[in-house]
């Protein structure tokens, strides 16, 4: 059985290499959307910006309270 009775010290980071690791690093992810235009990004941003500003202000207030504790 591939079980040892020793902890195989010292504990150190042993990089695992080989073709499977190389293949994992070389893998491609799926990406099939069309190119995104700046106008689309601007529309998305404009749709939520007020909520984002409010969220950041609320977060700053919450953090301010916790920093004073």
């Amino acid at each position: 059985m591939p079980i040892t009775s020793e902890p195989d010290l010292p504990i150190r980071s042993v990089p695992i290499g080989g073709p499977a690791v190389e293949a994992l690093d070389r893998r491609k992810e799926s990406s099939s959307n069309p190119r995104i235009a700046a106008a689309e990004l601007r529309d998305s941003y404009n749709g939520v910006k007020d909520d984002l500003f409010a969220g950041i202000k609320a977060l700053a207030q919450a953090v301010s309270g916790s920093m004073q504790r």
């Binding site: 992810e29 995104i36 990004l41 941003y45 939520v48 500003f53 919450a62 953090v63």
Partner: protein
Amino acid sequence: MTGAGLSAFYASEWAIAERAELLCDVARELLDNGTLPADRIVLREPRIRILTQGYFLLNKAYKDWRIPPGHANEKVRIAALKAIAIARFQPFMPLDPTNANDFTEARCNEIFALVYALGMLRCKLALDSPGKVDLWLRIFDIIAESTVETLAPFIADINRHKQRPLEDYALTLHDRDKLAINSLISIFELVANSPDP
């Protein structure tokens, strides 16, 4: 950088200008509406064009690593790459960077990065439970600690006032950047697909 110098780069001069203009508008709004304190933080606006160029170089390196040839990048990936590019080029700076006295000074660039990223993903920043504060602060930490080693040659040239056409850079994604990029892409993917992030 001349328009002719950029003509062979995958992102046109026009695309770079458009993205930089949007970033400038977001940055100015953060100051104008008081989200960032205009009396304590400076916006170094010319950096936004430089960071936009840096973003396109980083995006190219990322796509060469993970995206099939000829495919465009998706919004969550763009949001992550843009966020760490913003943090790396630090367009905002507190007047006294050694003495940040509140959250907005301490995380001014990360706030810009997250507002831009969530905005393009059409996501809100909800704080409906104590855990959400910790969640967002953790995301700010990840953005702040991403060093973007990939762009070191480009940044070195900028610092030497040596302008090279962007297509001259053949940058491969630095191993140290992969964790931050993968982490942020995963986080933005989860946030974008959550009904109430």
